[in-house]
Every structure is written in C-alpha cells, then in structure tokens.
C-alpha cells in the first residue's frame, strides 16, 4: 500500500514542540555562544570581532588554568569515590532482607533533596567547631578548618559529594537486578564462591552501567557550580574555583561576556574530548552480552 506524503510524514508533528525548543534555546544560543567567544562583548556596547584573542588570553590566564586543575582534582577523587561507594551500597541494597524499601529510601534521600538547602547544611556540619570535627576529636584527630583552609576546602567538597550518591546507586541497583539469575546458578554449580561470583559474573555484567556512570560522573564534575558558590565562593585563594564558577564570575560579575563565552567553549570541548576518549577505551573493557552471541 502506497502511503501519501502526508501519511508518511505526519508523525513528525509530535516532534515539533521539541524541535522548536531545540532551535530556539539550543541551536541558536550554541552558535551565538561561539560567535561571542570571538568578540570582546561586554553586555552593553556592540561586540567587536577580535577572533581568537580570547582563546589566546585563556591559554595564559593563570586563574583559568588553576580552575581547570581544581576541576581535575575534584574529578579524580569524586568520580571513582562515588562509583565505589555506590557499588557497595547497591550490592547491600540488593540483598533479600526485610525492610529494604525503607533502607533504599534513606540512601536515596540526600540525592533527592540535593540543592541549596542541603548544601547550606554542610556549612554547619563543616564548621571548625562543628559536629564533624567534634566526632574526629573523639578519636583523637584534630579536625582542620575545612572550608576556610586552602588545603582542605577541596577535600570538603569531595567528601560532601559522597553523601549524594543516590542516582549512581539506583542505576547500579537497576543493573544488578537485570543480571540473569541463571548465571549465578551456573557459577554455583561450577563451585564459585561469593567473591568469585562478584568478580566473574556481577562485575562483567555491570560494565555497561559502570561505563554509563563513569561518563555521566565526569560530565557532571566539569559542571560543578552550586556547592562551590555557596560553601566557598571559589575560595580560599581560588582553591575551589571550578571552571564554571570562573565562567560565572567573568560573565555576570564583570560582564566580560566574550571572554566567558570562550571559557564555555573550552569547557564544552574538554567535556567532548573526555567523553569521546571514554567511548574509545570502552571497547576494551565494557562487556555487552550480545557481542558474545554474535
């Protein structure tokens, strides 16, 4: 049966709202952002083309390089830490014991409420005389002045990030529940113990989920903003100045919008490169079930 042009294409009408939004609020700003990055725009006067001068300036901007270093520092500890903690909690939450819905809720709650409110709470927890340092004092460790110490401000943010592991944990939990039970039964018959099952069945079957959380985790750490703004404002002495915070300072505090757009584009390219590298490396370690059967 030949379909008319209308019958063939009418389904696209359902996508029109998204397409409209895509063009108006993604494509146009995205292109405009690149154009702005080639200008000296300052929010008032008409922008002058200065081509790649902003990018050249960025390469020699020590504060910007510091913000890249800070973001990498955070990523290196935050991403693996969250993954290991979430994996452990997910395995714990996948055990068959009573009361599990309650426990799952409790572990997920910090992620659901994550926002300005719970970030401000950490101001109290991390006070020099706050509860964390009191607890450390009980075991004889003198607690640092967390948020006002150049050395400990970044570790404070990393520790705080280990409290909101809920999303990663739920993804792992869904992954664990998707592993076919017969694989464990087969491993049991072969005499495998719990640890061997974990290493030879659970972990390989989880690699697609682990990969997903790795990619999302790294993308997420390049976009840290709110917690640094509220807890430290980027300080002390730029110790917690993340790339996005620097972008905000340049664009909206001193209105160097051209320069800030260049930061946005460098940030975008960094995220793109990290993601692409991971997809390339993934072929070596991510296990997709259907690859084997094919």
């Amino acid at each position: 049966m030949r379909r008319t042009f209308w019958q063939q294409w009418n389904g696209i009408l359902f996508a029109v709202p998204w397409l409209l939004q895509f063009v108006l609020f993604i494509v146009v700003p995205f292109a405009a952002s690149f154009w702005l990055s080639l200008t000296d725009y300052r929010f008032r006067d008409f922008p002058n083309m200065i081509w790649f001068e902003n990018y050249a300036d960025l390469a020699g901007d020590e504060v910007f390089l510091k913000s890249i270093f800070n973001t990498l520092y955070y990523t290196v500890f935050h991403v693996p830490g969250v993954m290991i903690i979430s994996f452990f909690i997910a395995i714990l939450l996948n055990q068959k014991v009573n009361g599990m819905p309650l426990f799952r809720t409790l572990f997920y709650l910090p992620s659901v409420t994550a926002g300005v409110a719970t970030i401000m709470l950490w101001l109290v927890i991390l006070q020099p005389n706050g509860i964390l340092n009191q607890a450390l004092g009980l075991v004889g460790i003198p607690g640092p002045r967390w948020l006002t110490s150049t050395q400990w401000a970044m570790p404070s943010l990393i520790i705080m990030s280990f409290w909101t592991v809920g999303t990663t944990m739920i993804l792992y939990l869904a992954g664990l529940q998707g592993i076919p039970q017969h694989l464990y039964e087969a491993a049991s018959i072969d005499g495998a113990g719990h640890l061997r099952k974990l290493w030879h069945v659970t972990v390989p079957m989880m690699t697609p989920t682990i990969f997903l959380t790795l990619v999302l985790g790294i993308i997420g750490s390049w976009q840290v903003f709110t917690q640094a703004l509220i807890l430290t404002g980027g300080g002390p002495a730029n110790a917690t100045l993340f790339v996005l915070l620097y972008l905000y300072n340049k664009a909206f505090l001193i209105f160097q919008m051209g320069y800030a757009s260049a930061i946005a584009w460098v940030l975008f390219v960094i995220i793109l490169i990290f993601t692409l590298i991971q997809f390339i490396i993934a072929r070596r370690w991510v296990y997709y079930e259907y690859d084997e059967s094919g």
């Binding site: 063939q8 294409w9 009418n10 389904g11 696209i12 359902f14 996508a15 709202p17 998204w18 397409l19 409209l20 939004q21 895509f22 993604i26 146009v28 700003p29 995205f30 405009a32 952002s33 702005l36 714990l92 014991v97 819905p101 426990f103 409790l106 709650l109 659901v112 409420t113 926002g115 300005v116 409110a117 719970t118 401000m120 709470l121 950490w122 101001l123 109290v124 927890i125 006070q127 005389n129 706050g130 509860i131 409290w163 739920i170 993804l171 939990l173 869904a174 992954g175 529940q177 018959i189 690699t207 989920t209 993308i219 976009q223 709110t226 509220i230 664009a251 919008m257 757009s261 995220i271």
Partner: protein
C-alpha cells in the same frame, strides 16, 4: 552433586563424601546465613544512620540560636529549642513570594513539561517517518550537552525580550519537553504491545486518539515517575533562576534562600538558613515518601541497565 545431597535424608545410606557435604551445607545454613544477615543489617543500619544523620542535624540546627553556633563546643541539642528561627525567618525576607514563584515554576514543570515530553515521546515510540531515528538520536545527544555553554547567549536573548527578572525564561522553554523525560517515556511506550494500536487504528482511531486513550492510560506509572522527577528537579533548580532573577521578591525559593547566607547581615545567619532549608526540603520529602515506589521503579523502567 551438591544439589542432590541436599535431598538425601540425614540417616540414609550414602557415601562418605556425600555425608560431609551434607554437614557443610548444614553448617552454612545454621551459622553462616544468619551471620551474613546480621552483617547485612548492621551495614544497612549503620549506612542509613550516616546518610540520614545530616537531616537530623538540619532539624537540630534550626532550633539553635545564632550564638549557640559559635560556642565551643556547640550544644548537641539546644535546650530549650529556639522556635524563634521559624517566626524570624518569615519576617526576614519575602519568603511567601519565593514559595509562590517556586510553586508556579514547579507546577508548570509537573504539568506542561511532563505532558509535552509524553507527546513527543509518543511520536518517537509509535509513529513512523523517514528521519525519526535520526531525530531521536539528536534528542539523546542534547542530554550530553552542558546547558552552561549556552547560558550567556540565553541571557542576552531574554534581556532583549525583556524577560529577565521574570519567570518566563524558566517556563517558556518547557514547551519543548525535556530530553531525559522524552527518553524515559519513549523506552516505556515501546514496551506496550503494538497490537493495541493496530486494533484501534483499524477501528478508525487517529494517532492522537490512540495516544490519549491507550498509550497514556497504560503508562501511568512511567508518567507519574517523570512528573515526580520534574517536581523535584524544578523545585531544586538553582543555576538558571540564579542567573535570570535579580530582584529579591521575584526569586524562587532556591535562589532567595541564599540571602540568609550572604544577603543583608554581617555574619551568616546559620539558624535562619537551617530553618528555611527545612522549609524548602519539606515538600520534596513529602512528595518522595508518597511517590517512593515510582523512583525505584522509574529507574528500572528506563532500561538503562545496558
């Protein structure tokens, strides 16, 4: 072998090796399993205590007076509790306006964003046209795009539209749905048997009719999940409202709250911060406890397991 031995009655005439395997299994069942359960419970309770503790601390801190924060050490629990933070907080800022603004944005998020996402997702799951899959790939790829790259041009656009300092820049873009929600719903819609649509189509139902009378009613759990995610996401949203809104009484709650930290006082008003934090977290806690099953189920629905 191990499976068989379990069935052998204890006194039956079986070989020695079998006998020992029976006793090992018995030992496991009597000692190891309960011990494992105790260990699992201990870790669950300990972990929940760590993850739940900050909330308890938020409640405690909201009952402190400002001076108590700077005592050394501060009281573990202030006696008597200082209820004044809760009355003071209402008088110290345009909180009612913030709550109204957050409610407006969140309502649009729950109703419009969810509905549009469902309609777009229906198109990707249930209609066919030549470039459909390319478009869907485009939707997914926008999830990887950091929203912050586009923030500067958006501010300029909204300035020229005279939308800055209003809720419009937060609400209007919702007409396109959310890529993440479209993705979740499309995955779910695809699990509904196609025969249902075909039967309805033979009876002369249009795609729009099929969408509203068959697919949406059958997808209530998935749509509810998305609505709850949207509620929480919009209520907590900070970055964009923080950039777009400048006048205190036009802010949303998440943005306005910062005034108690850095606004009009010489030192941060920690007790007021904790009181407003609790006020702002309360709707989410309530929503979460009522819709709890939708979360856990919702993530499983997405089929992200790989």
């Amino acid at each position: 072998m191990a499976l068989l031995s379990e069935k052998a009655p204890p006194g039956s005439n079986v070989g020695g090796s079998m006998q020992s395997s029976v006793t090992i299994r018995g030992w496991r069942a009597r000692i190891l399993r309960p011990a494992w359960r105790v260990l699992v419970y201990a870790m669950l309770v300990g972990g929940s205590a760590i993850y739940g503790f900050p909330f308890a601390w938020m409640v405690r801190s909201s009952f402190m007076s400002i001076d108590q924060f700077y005592e050394d050490p501060p009281p573990f629990f202030p006696i008597p509790p200082n209820w004044a933070s809760y009355t003071e907080v209402w008088e110290s800022g345009p909180i009612v306006s913030w709550i109204i603004n957050s409610t407006i944005v969140t309502t649009f998020g729950v109703v419009v964003l969810t509905l549009v996402s469902a309609v777009v997702a229906f198109g990707f799951a249930r209609t066919e046209y030549p470039i459909r899959d390319v478009l869907f790939l485009l939707v997914i790829s926008t999830m990887m795009l950091p929203q912050h790259v586009t923030i500067i041009p958006k501010v300029i656009i909204f300035r020229d539209l005279r939308w800055l300092d209003t809720l419009l820049p937060l609400i209007v873009p919702m007409i396109g749905g959310s890529a993440f929600f479209i993705f979740i719903l499309r995955q779910f819609f695809r699990t509904i048997p196609k025969e249902l649509d075909d039967a309805a189509a033979i009876d002369g139902a249009s795609p729009v009719r099929i969408m509203f009378t068959i697919i949406f009613p059958l997808s209530k759990p998935a749509i509810a999940t998305v609505a709850v995610f949207s509620f929480i996401g919009n209520w907590n949203e900070f970055f964009e409202p923080f950039i777009y809104l400048n006048t205190p009484d036009r802010m949303t709650l998440a943005v306005g709250m910062r005034f108690f930290q850095a606004g009009m006082w010489e030192q941060p008003q920690l007790h007021l911060q904790m009181a407003i934090a609790l006020i702002s977290v309360a709707p989410i806690l309530i929503a979460f406890f009522f819709a709890q099953k939708h979360f856990i189920r919702g993530i499983t629905l997405t089929g992200i397991k790989g």
